[in-house]
């Protein structure tokens, strides 16, 4: 019997215990929620320091990115990600982790072809399609603006 990789994935999934999805979801809920909770604590601290709303959010993102970069450099973020899955991928810390871990991993290929290029393996598509979507929305908004 010949099996394609896709069929194999499907068989593998069916053979795995059902509780895997539930367990993964619990991990990602608590870890992802926890990262956002840390973000909310930071955001309120920046607001209390007198930052305006949008600047407080930006400062929160930058702070979380710095924390993620340090934890990634120490190899701790990846250990958590092995359990938490999307809980560590979806927050902005996951974006930073993808940049920093690729940068470290490809250091041996040099700073331009290695670090400079490979940092964008995951971050690149995110920025490309995020900006493309924002430009489409910008055009729509520009056209609608006289009427709203």
């Amino acid at each position: 019997m010949k099996i394609t990789p896709r069929e194999y994935d499907e068989m593998n999934r069916r053979a795995s215990p059902h509780s895997k999805l539930g367990k993964d979801c619990l991990w990602s809920f608590f870890v992802g929620g926890g990262i956002c909770l840390v973000g909310e604590v930071l955001r309120r601290a920046y607001l209390a320091k007198g930052f305006v709303l949008s600047d407080a959010s930006a400062m929160t993102s930058v702070t979380l990115i710095l924390i993620s970069a340090v934890l990634t450099s120490l190899g701790w973020y990846q250990k958590l990600a092995a359990r938490a899955g999307a809980g560590t991928l979806v927050p902005i810390t996951g974006f930073a982790n993808s940049v920093v871990s690729s940068a470290i991993e490809y250091r041996s290929e040099g700073f331009v072809p290695g670090v400079g290029a490979k940092m964008f393996v995951i971050a690149g598509p995110v920025v490309v399609y995020g900006l493309a979507a924002s430009a489409v929305w910008g055009l729509v908004y520009h056209l609608l603006r006289p009427f709203i």
Partner: protein, 119 residues
């Protein structure tokens, strides 16, 4: 106090949606994040993401959908200020701090770190 609870719940649920996609489909992390950012732009454009940010704060801004929301809001500001050019400039301006911080961290970590740490 409720604000912290909403941040935790909304952030957690947004991550669980991603986890379900990972477990039940063969979407790679890059595809999931692209999906999140584009969804954030669309939800923000439809006026649905703003209220979520008001409710959940960092619970809505920290997940990558929040990054999409940031891009969409940045474009609105830029189009209001500079018209047509804002379509192209707004997203980058809004994304600037987060993207630049990530990239500098990447270069710094590569300069200071050791590849063997990445396992």
């Amino acid at each position: 106090m409720m604000g912290y609870l909403w941040a935790f719940l909304v952030g957690g649920v947004l991550c669980v949606i991603g986890q379900v996609l990972i477990d039940l489909t063969s979407l790679t992390p890059a595809r999931i994040l692209v999906l999140y950012v584009v969804s954030g732009v669309v939800l923000s454009a439809l006026g649905l993401y703003g209220p979520l940010v008001e409710l959940a704060g960092a619970g809505a801004t920290v997940p990558l959908t929040g990054f999409g929301h940031l891009l969409a809001q940045g474009v609105i500001d830029a189009v209001d200020r500079m018209g047509l050019l804002g379509i192209l400039a707004g997203g980058f301006a809004a994304a600037g701090a987060g993207v630049t911080a990530s990239l500098i961290c990447g270069v710094a970590a590569a300069a200071l770190g050791h590849p063997k740490d990445q396992n």
